[in-house]
Symmetry: C2
Subunit: 221 residues, 2 copies
Amino acid sequence: MGTQAPDLTVAVQDYLKAIYTLESSRERVTTSALASRMGVSAPSATAMTKRLAELGLVERAPYRGVALTDEGRRSALEVLRHHRLLERYLADRLGLALDEVHAEAELLEHALSEELEAKIDAELGYPTHDPHGDPIPDRELQLSHGSEQTLIDVEPGGRAMITRVPDGDPELLRYLDGLGLVPGSDAVLVSFAPFGGPVTVRTDAGEHAISRELADRIAAT
Amino acid sequence: MGTQAPDLTVAVQDYLKAIYTLESSRERVTTSALASRMGVSAPSATAMTKRLAELGLVERAPYRGVALTDEGRRSALEVLRHHRLLERYLADRLGLALDEVHAEAELLEHALSEELEAKIDAELGYPTHDPHGDPIPDRELQLSHGSEQTLIDVEPGGRAMITRVPDGDPELLRYLDGLGLVPGSDAVLVSFAPFGGPVTVRTDAGEHAISRELADRIAAT
DNA sequence: ATGTTCTTTTAGACATAGCTAAATCCGATT
DNA sequence: AATCGGATTTAGCTATGTCTAAAAGAACAT
C-alpha cells in the first residue's frame, strides 16, 4: 500500500549514502558537511537536500541541516548493501587488494540489479562483513552491530584481533597493511604515550606507533 | 601525441555501440534507424549525431546519416569488449542463463574500470567469444572474425555445430534454448521447405522447424 | 517536371545536477 | 542588544540528454 518507490538517481543514492555515514558518526548533517563529503559546492548541496526532502527521503530544516526519514534510511542501506557486497566479492573472487575494492565498488554499485545482487550474495555464502570489517546489511537491511571497541580501548599489554579498518582511503589502507593492521590480524597493545601521544602496537609486521586518532578508527576485539 | 580522449558519457557510448552494430549489418546508419535502435525520438538522435560529429567520433552528412571514424570505431569496440567480457563472466562465474546475461552486462558495462576489466579477462583465461558466440575484441581491440556461415548455408542432410545465436532478445533465446539451438550444440539440417518456407533442424531436443530468416541469424560450422 | 509524402532538422521546452556571485540568516562576541 | 563573520540560501547560468510541434529537405510517383 506504500507509495511505489521511483528509481532514485545515482546522485540521490550517493547523497543518501553520505548522509547515512555522517549520521552514523553522530555528526549533525549540515549543508557544509555534506558538500565537503560529496566534493560539491554548498549551493549544490542545498539544492539536493531540497530534492531529497521533496522525495520524502530526509527531513530538512532550513539552516539546520537534514536527517534521514525511515524511507531515506532504507534506501541508504540498500546502497550500502550493494557497495559492501561488491567489495566482498571483488576481494574474494577477483583478488582485489583491500585498498582497491572501495573505488571499484563505488563504480559498480549503481549498476547492480537486485537479481545479480542475490546471486552474488548466495555465491559468497551470505557474508556479514565487507573486507574492511564493515557490516553488510542483510536482505531485510538489518545490520549486525554489536557495540564496538577500538584499539584505544585495549589495555596496555593486552592482545586484540583487528576487526575493522577505515575504508575509502587507499593510501591509508596501504599504510595500515604495511603495519600488519588488517582485519583478522592480531595485535598487542604495547603502550600509550602520555599527554595524548601515540599508541604503540606490535603485529606480525613488528612494532609501530600510530596516532591516537588513527588508533580510535581501528576496531578490535 | 594524439588528442587525449575525454571520458565519453554513458549515452555517447551507447550510441556508438548502436552505430557500430548497424554498420556491421551493412545498413546505412540513418537518423531513424538509430532513433529506433536507441528507443528515442528522431530529434534526439539528430542532436546526438551532431554531438558525436563534434567529438570526432562520426562523420555526419545532414540528411544522409553517419559513419564511425577510426576513433569512433575504437571507442565502440571498447564498449563492446566490456559488454561481451561481462557476459562471459556472468555466464561462467555467476551462472546466469544465456537470456539473462545481455541485460545485466548492459547495466554493468559503463561501470567497469580498465583495471577490473583486465582482471576479469585474465581470470577467464582471455576468452575470445561471449556466451552468444559473438567475438570479444582483444586488448588491442582486434576482432577474430572468419567468414561465417549460417544454418541456411548448410546442405540438406548436413551436420553443423551452432556457433552463434542472436543476443539481446531474452524471449527468442529461451525459445532457441528449448529447441536445442545454443552455441556448442550440434544440429542436423533436415530440410528446406520450398518457396522460401521454413527450415527443419534436428537437435538433442528433437526436430523443429524455424523460419528461414531466423535460420540465417544462427551461425554454424 | 512537379507535387506529395516521408524523413530529417530546427525551435523551444523540461529535468537533473553542477557552478559562481550575491544576498540573507544565525550565532557568537562584545 | 547590536554587530560581525561564517554558514546557508537564493538567483541565475551551464551542460547533458530527452521531448513535442513545426519547418524544411529529399525522394518518389505521376
